[in-house]
Amino acid sequence: MIKTMEIGLILTIIGAVLAAGLAGIGSALGVRLVGEVASGLVAEDPEKFGKVLLLQALPGTQGIYGFLGAIMVMQKIGLLGGGIKSISPEVGWQILLACLPVGVVGLISALLQAKVAAAGVNIVAKKPTESGKPIIFAAMVETYAVLGLLVTILLLNGIKVG
């Protein structure tokens, strides 16, 4: 028999795992996509490495946001030291749900942002002087990951533990 307190803890951990996991998967796939396209350009023109590296890094931020969400959860329930707090199933569910914005939006926005960034590699190839513009295009997509993170942070901040 699992005690109810343990159910709360498990739900909380699932939340942290989803935040870091989903957003991390999105970022990994996204960074891969841009990296592949960028390699094509760098093979032709190695000097553009620095510029396309910035583009490749962009879809990587979602993973960091997810990681951030997970850490906030861990800190909240005392997993990082200070003793694990007791968590009721209700609070567990609350924390799990609070983790979803950063996880789900992170996953999808990283994939979509990667497509924009990969297309932006074209701009860097053809118009090196305009290489700031594709970065802004990609950042337009990232807005929603930032907002997802914000919602997760605010929700976690509002949930009372113990």
Binding site: L54, A57, L58, G60, T61, I64, Y65, L68, I71, M72, L80, G81, G132, K133, I135, I136, A139, M140, E142, T143, V146, L147, L149, L150, I153, L154, N157
Partner: protein
């Protein structure tokens, strides 16, 4: 500021064209405008440029790593161009026999590939003959006989014994000679009477014997191998010679780079010639020049010839005028941000000075750590002070110096120092702790809502600023009525909403109803003015009501500023996590753990600075481009591209 330009037409005699173009290219402030669509076809120069480029690419592979100290290396990474003064440049162009050098490079390249190919071929041949290199026998002699034949091949040592014994027993008229043993194989020559060939073949197949086919050579293997060796030696000697020759050519790289750029300048000049209009005796060149430099230009040309005419042409309505942004020292550093977006139109204000304070502040809130700001500022200052950089590159680092300083102050207000919670600073440093606590006014991690509200208010403030700039610009350009009717109602409405929110959350001591009426007045104001362009009186009011929908646009613009909070929190929480991981490391193991935790701290914080400075920069820039600029400008202006000597490899410095 958008620099005022003059559209001019330079007319002079054809014989002066070359000289005048040379002057204009050195002058570097004349934007050539196409008179006619010139055929930008192939130039002879293209071929020469390609040749020089080929030589450069080829020689680059042979360049030895130079010993440089860190300072030189850093300078090269940030600003890789060679600096050269005009005297040395002219010297190189007139005295350096680059055509000869290029011929030598081309010859060396052909020789090198030929010799390398030969060496590779001989190596392969030698590899094939290697196991039989001691065989002092011309096998072709055996082929000539009527009754005898031979087979070459190898067998694995494991089967050798069985093979030799069996061969002796089963097949007659056969002579076996073991020639060499290499690794796990033994190599054999088998000479046999032709009549036993079939039996032999069958036996060999059954006993794991592998045949080797070698090309006919008409001499003994021993001799042949020796010959190959000698041949290789000769080729290697030639290879050395060629490499030496190439090594002697490598020092010309820098001079070839100068020639490469110089040829490109000549080509650009030819292109300009194509753009000018010509009669049998004269040419006319259209272009733009800064108003303040027009006299300088006239003076320069009058030094070349007296037979010239410079006409100032009127600017037609709707004509595209190139944009040259010029700002005072401090603001000019932020042109980098504007340039990412592009240029405004000629009749629009330069957004650079307006975005500057917002950009600095937003970046600082996004990075939000005093320690990180300090690191950024010190790094930038170091680069500016200690590396000899051209002005253009310095601008960029000065920008980061300002951003770093601002981040330092904002971070101090947030009480974030490398992610350390200042409450945990030990008692031995009590004065420091107390001081830091005293200047800490906002705690975004514990109380994010406070910073969220600040972010949104900053956003509204920037939107209002944008509208005000537009209002001011229209009034300045004598569109007073349009400016006032377009923008003032909105400015009033948005401000009154802000006041309403402030008073209803008891932030402003004001009767609630008063604020309510203020908002209502604002809305009526908007409804009455925004539909005024409709012709029918029955449409004016409905169009005004519909325009209230614009409020949603302003609302979403405002909410977009919440990213300031999110990015700020991201930096400080990751910084805390890095400290936490380092702490765990140091507690896990003695000594090694402490070293590891140091590594985690340094690498981790540097990573955090890098990734978050990038994020802070692009998101603050986005707020300017998407939320701020459209309030007062359209953008999309063409850039002022002067005809000048801009090199891929070199930069001319003036010694005067």
């Amino acid at each position: 500021m958008v620099t005022p330009l003059k559209k001019i037409c330079i007319i002079s005699s054809l014989e002066n064209e070359e000289k005048i173009l040379n002057f204009l290219q050195d002058f570097g402030n004349f934007h050539v405008f196409e008179f006619r669509k010139g055929e930008v076809g192939k130039f002879d120069l293209d071929y020469q440029i390609a040749k020089v480029n080929f030589s450069l690419e080829f020689l680059k592979n042979f360049k030895k790593k130079e010993r440089e100290n860190l300072k030189e290396k850093l300078t090269k990474v940030i600003s890789p161009k060679i600096e050269i003064d005009i005297k040395k440049l002219e010297e190189t162009i007139s005295f350096f026999n680059w055509e000869k050098i290029i011929q030598e490079v081309e010859k060396a390249e052909i020789d090198l590939s030929e010799v390398s190919f030969q060496i590779k071929r001989i190596d392969e041949e030698m590899k094939k003959f290697y196991p039989f290199k001691n065989l002092d026998l011309n096998l072709e002699e055996i082929k000539k006989t009527k009754n005898f034949s031979f087979i070459l091949g190898r067998i694995n040592l494991n089967y050798k014994e069985k093979f030799l014994n069996g061969l002796e027993k089963k097949i007659k008229f056969v002579e076996v000679r073991e020639i060499s043993q290499i690794e796990k194989n033994s190599y054999f020559l088998i000479i046999f009477l032709k009549e036993v060939e079939k039996d032999l073949e069958k036996f060999l197949e059954e006993n794991h014997f592998e045949k080797e086919e070698l090309p006919p050579i008409y001499t003994s293997f021993k001799n042949y191998y020796k010959k190959l060796k000698e041949e290789k030696k000769n080729f290697e000697a030639r290879l050395n010679e060629i490499n030496e020759k190439i090594d002697n050519l490598v020092p010309y790289i820098d001079k070839l780079k100068i020639i490469f750029d110089w040829l490109n300048w000549q080509k650009e000049k030819d292109e300009v010639k194509e753009k000018s209009a010509k009669t049998s005796y004269t040419f006319a060149l259209l272009g733009w020049v800064e108003e303040s430099l027009l006299n300088h230009l006239k003076e320069g040309i009058s030094k070349i010839t007296k037979e010239y005419e410079i006409l100032e042409l009127p600017i037609k309505e709707g004509e595209t005028i190139p944009i040259l942004l010029k700002n005072k020292e401090f603001f000019s550093d932020f042109e980098t941000v504007t340039n990412v977006y592009g240029a405004p139109l000629y009749h629009e204000p330069d957004p650079t000075p307006f975005l500057t304070p917002f950009f600095i502040l937003f970046f600082a809130i996004c990075l939000s750590d005093a320690g990180y700001g300090l690191v950024l500022a010190i790094l930038s200052l170091f680069i500016i002070k200690f590396l000899k950089l051209p002005k253009k590159n310095k601008k960029f680092f000065r920008l980061f110096l300002w951003l770093g300083i601002a981040t330092f102050f904002v971070g101090a207000l947030f009480g974030s120092w490398f992610g350390i919670e200042i409450e945990t600073i030990p008692d031995s440093l009590k004065p420091v702790r107390d001081f830091l606590l005293k200047i800490k006014i906002i705690d975004p991690v514990k109380n994010p809502l406070q910073l969220l509200i600040i972010s949104l208010v900053l956003g509204i403030f920037q939107i209002l600023t944008g509208l005000s700039i537009s209002l001011w610009w229209k009034i300045k350009n004598k569109m007073v009525k349009e400016g006032i009717f377009d923008h003032l109602p909105w400015i009033f409405l948005i401000s009154s909403i802000l006041i309403f929110i402030a008073s209803s959350s008891n932030f402003l001591p004001m009767p609630k109803n008063f604020a309510k009426y203020l908002v209502l007045a604002g809305a009526i104001f908007v409804v009455l003015t925004q539909g005024r362009k409709q012709k029918s009186i029955f449409l004016k009011i409905p169009a005004g009501i519909i325009s209230l929908y614009g409020l949603i646009g302003y609302l979403s613009d405002t909410l977009s500023y919440s990213r300031l909070l999110a990015l700020g929190l991201a930096t400080s929480i990751i910084a805390m996590v890095i400290n936490l991981i380092a702490k765990i490391f140091s507690q896990m193991l003695p000594v090694v753990g402490i070293l590891a935790s140091f590594l985690v701290l340094i690498v981790g914080h540097l990573f955090n600075i890098g990734i978050n400075a990038l994020g802070a920069f692009i998101h603050s820039a986005r707020l300017q481009f998407v939320e701020f600029f459209p309030k007062f400008m359209e953008g999309g202006g063409a850039r002022f591209k002067p005809f000048k000597k801009e090199g891929k490899y070199i930069r001319i410095i003036n010694n005067d």
